[in-house]
Symmetry: D2
Subunit: 302 residues, 4 copies
């Protein structure tokens, strides 16, 4: 359970309070505000604030004096057009602020996205909590035999048990020693900024993270993708659901033109046209390398 | 008068509409929302949306579960500390969206600030309005004799009149010809993307502009400064007033530690200490160049 | 002719000078250094400096101690893989610095690319040259009837002549008045920062522009594209040729996976698979809107 | 010793190779190229490439056709002027590429600087080396009593010994277990992307890191500062020495106007002027808070 009862009370208090505003309001997002959406064993994603909605994308694209909405249908068409033609700046007109709790090794991947604003909990100033990510047994997977960067089947029986045992024991021991170094009866105590270096990468950290919708989509495309590591992908998937409730048209366009879309090279397009014209194109006659041909076959479902 | 009655009606309609929200609300900013604050002869700044307030800066700096506010006094102290020590990321947690109407030559300076999100009115797609910036007589100034990049005294009498005459006549003629090229009875009409190149840089354009508070302060520091050209400075000054109503603590800290502050070089600090110790430091004994010495004298009010 | 003989001599002097370096050298780029590649009637693109080559992309992707090159073939495969899978950070490891002379209305589009470093000639400090872009007759085109943002056929005969006449006359008159305002016998002279606002958008400006290869490709994809305005496209095309000589593998991958590639939505992929399976898919059965269906037909060459 | 003899041979081979170039060459930087400058117990900083020199800053500021250098003295004056007045874009015209080996907890601070290009060694793909940062005894320091974010005196005797013992033992055990999980005789082996989460934050990683000179100075100002953690400060200090050899004028200006400079608030300037006029200003009469007054006293050396 990621939150203490005190924290839950603070969240409830915030949710109970509403005030009138002249700004655009997204009902879908209001319902999520402040609530902790659990991810992994101790992590969460909480929406802290948002700016804009689907109409705000159109309003900016049209540089309008009023709300900028013409008709709901018209707005959806415009949003799909913008997405299809990589007109990304109107999507930058929406903004999202999250509070995220996540393991350090996930944070290390996440922070590589530079087009966001971040404030992380300071382990120079504060003491980290004793909370470590321990994968569920079905996620304790072997190194992939086909994909050098990924993982394959779940480990079985004794090997899986041994791994989980190690992770738990090392986390516990490292944390015990972290605490011991920071301070014990009658000792000065090691500086926190030093003591933390004894903590393994499955310890949890947390941050405030704020980003515009275009760069959020970019993040989600890369991190909700099958190539992304499972542990960051579950965060991305949780965020996808939040975004779908916030800006439904934009999210649908994103799903169609990014998440579920494919990019075909000039040579692939050429092969495709020839195939549609009835030619039996082979790798040899396609001009594609073996690897590219395989990826192409995947796309066209052969 | 920059706005048509139709546009004013759209703005009034937006202002009349409020809805409840769970997000933090800044009363100071709510009062400004959507209203056009006039700048120069046809320009304006309108607040379209905002995210966060003073407390949101502290909430992020503390990575809090709740509102993050301790006490008002405590918050102000933290904000001043963050500003003083260049801890800028908590200020990135507030965001502002404006609709701005401004002359093209001002837009060309403004757009150099890359840490913002922008959507500009398209002159490939649409026809620009016949609106040109003509300076008020007191702003028709001579090239500065002391500052190569700036302007000096206002021109007088006939010379000023001649300048204003030229600006008005050339604007009018160029716009007449712009219209004429775009289309006349029985002609095809030049593409708008080409016709616009006949328009001088005092024509007005408009855009949606969105930025976080840290980068907004950076913009204001450079553009509300005496070295900035008058015509962009008046926009910056209008924005300063809006920001002061939005995040009063942060704005006060900005005023004290950026706008009204000075940066002293290592050598200047050395001179200063010697002076305070009673030594009569001169340019020669200061180690400062003549120019640096002059700037130093200005700072210490000599 | 864009350059004075004095400027040409400065360029020749720079080209004549070589010095030994331990850095990686791109022979293709060395041959271009400092030379002005003419664009439009008075513009140019000059390579001032570059960092890295194809091998440097691989070296960074592999985080190598040495040159990081395995074999030429291996490197090319890796570069194509990185491009195909949007692994963009290794492409950021190459950098290009250009000196560009371009009309102001092109500069206004160009500067929207925020991921670059820019220093522009100051018209507050200096006096601009009397150089205006006047399109060649075949580029004096009508507003497009099908694409709201573009241009259609060239104007013919009298209408074209009239347009060219206007552009030339207004440029000349505005510049005469610019000069007149800046200073005449016995007058103070209007500040340059003000006088310049009388100049139309076809006047030339110049800047130093520096960017990494990933963001340069992003620029080229958007600006060498058919949707881009002709006058910026010719700059992009000139730059494409320079980049092809600098990093030939990366450029080829860019051509195949970006410039000549297509992005198919989830629904389009579905239609495609059905078509390849022999089904006669129509717009109605495809789930695509009329507009999307038309774009899809274009892609598959129907 | 951070490098294997094979790696040293690769570096020597690269250093031995020179080729002629037409680009500007910085002799100071050429002498450093590829060499590993040791930092901490196993870390290093290696210059992989650079673009530009002092003159290149001036060339861009002047938007020159040739080298842009007027006289050496003139160039230095311009560079100091640019630094003093926060004209930062000309400094963006120089670029530096480094290969850095550093502990993960340092990397986590470093990566927060978003205005750089990064490629990190992949621990999803590869196996990390058994190399951990163990502080020298004199750096095993207590939590600071005065500064909540910093460290105080070195721990003494037994307590220090105990800390070092823990760090060494936990590093070794965690690494043993990392290896054991990744693969043992007759087992499948845990995916690397999972196994790495058992590794503590003092393990070394490495990356290619590329940045422009303005943002490098920004990094150095924050990280060569007394408030920065010792372990990142030593990297910053090593980099300061490299930069001083690369762009001596710019570095000197940076030292004078940033590193050794102070920022005085509006109220501090006021107090200062009154003090210089002979008034005995106290905290009460200064308008400064107790904390601000203390910082002010530090600056003026009282
Ligand atoms: C002593 C010290 C203590 C610190 N303590 C903490 C802490 O407790 N918690 C914590 O989270 N961090 C902490 N930090 C990190 C700090 O908040 C910054 O993240 C870090 O110093 C990088 O600074 P920067 O953002 O100015 O640099 P860069 O990211 O290189 O940015 C430079 C400038 O570019 C612009 N910029 C770049 N990217 C963006 C973007 N995506 N959006 C908007 N503007 C952008 C901004 O103007 C920015 O100032 C600490 C840093 C120091 C030096
Ligand atoms: C055919 C065409 C028509 C256009 N029509 C219009 C128009 O009518 N109106 C109009 O305003 N513009 C128009 N544009 C400009 C367009 O909206 C973009 O501003 C321009 O193409 C630059 O693209 P970019 O933002 O992707 O590039 P860059 O600014 O180079 O950014 C590249 C990427 O970096 C990130 N990034 C960089 N800076 C920031 C930042 N400050 N905040 C967040 N993320 C950042 C984003 O992920 C971005 O995608 C048009 C462009 C084209 C090609
Ligand atoms: C009085 C005055 C005179 C000027 N004169 C000239 C002139 O003669 N010629 C001229 O060309 N300009 C001139 N400028 C413009 C000036 O050079 C800057 O372009 C402008 O002030 C924007 O500042 P910035 O780059 O700090 O802001 P932003 O672009 O908002 O950037 C803020 C910070 O973010 C980081 N950053 C953002 N984008 C990038 C990026 N793509 N790469 C690296 N870091 C990035 C940097 O750390 C930067 O400092 C002048 C400005 C002023 C105020
Ligand atoms: C499956 C997968 C595997 C990966 N493997 C590795 C690996 O082995 N090693 C590794 O180092 N990384 C790896 N990464 C991280 C990857 O290289 C990117 O750092 C990360 O995905 C962030 O992407 P981004 O740079 O596009 O996002 P952002 O940083 O959010 O940038 C978005 C866009 O903004 C612009 N931009 C933002 N900041 C800058 C800047 N400072 N300079 C120039 N342009 C800027 C660029 O156009 C950029 O594309 C991996 C990522 C994924 C998804």
């Amino acid at each position: 359970m990621p939150l203490s009862s005190e924290q839950l009370a603070e969240i409830d208090a915030q949710r109970a309070h509403t005030a009138p505003t002249r700004r655009v309001v997204s009902p879908g997002m209001e319902s999520h505000l402040y609530r902790a959406h659990p991810v992994l064993d101790h992590g969460f994603v909480r929406v802290i604030d948002y700016m804009g909605d689907d109409a705000a994308i159109c309003q900016a694209a049209r540089v309008s004096y009023g709300t900028g909405t013409k008709s709901v249908q018209n707005d959806e068409g415009l949003i799909r057009y913008l997405m299809r033609h990589w007109h990304s700046t109107p999507f930058e007109m929406c903004e999202l602020k999250l509070h995220v709790k996540l393991p350090v090794f996930v944070a290390r991947q996440w922070i590589r996205h530079r087009t966001a604003n971040v404030n992380e909990y300071s382990a120079r100033y504060s003491i980290l909590d004793r909370e470590f990510y321990i994968p569920a047994p079905e996620h304790v997977a072997a190194q992939s035999a086909v994909n050098n960067q990924g993982r394959g089947e779940a480990l079985q029986g004794e090997e899986a048990a041994r791994v989980l045992e190690i992770l738990k024991a090392d986390s516990a021991r490292c944390y015990d020693n972290y605490e011991a170094m920071i301070g014990q009866e009658g000792q000065q105590g090691l500086a926190r900024e030093l003591a933390r270096m004894n903590l393994p990468a499955n310890i949890y950290t947390q941050w405030y993270w704020k980003v515009d919708l275009h760069n959020l989509f970019h993040f989600l495309r890369l991190r909700a993708d099958a190539h992304a590591q499972y542990e960051i992908r579950v965060y991305a998937e949780t965020m996808c659901r939040l975004v779908a409730d916030w800006v439904p048209f934009a999210y649908k366009a994103f799903e169609d033109y990014r998440l579920g879309a494919v990019n075909l090279s000039a040579q692939m397009v050429d092969s495709l046209r020839r195939m549609l014209a009835g030619e039996a194109v082979t790798q040899e006659t396609s001009g594609l390398s073996a690897r590219e041909w395989r990826e192409f076959q995947d796309v066209i479902g052969r």
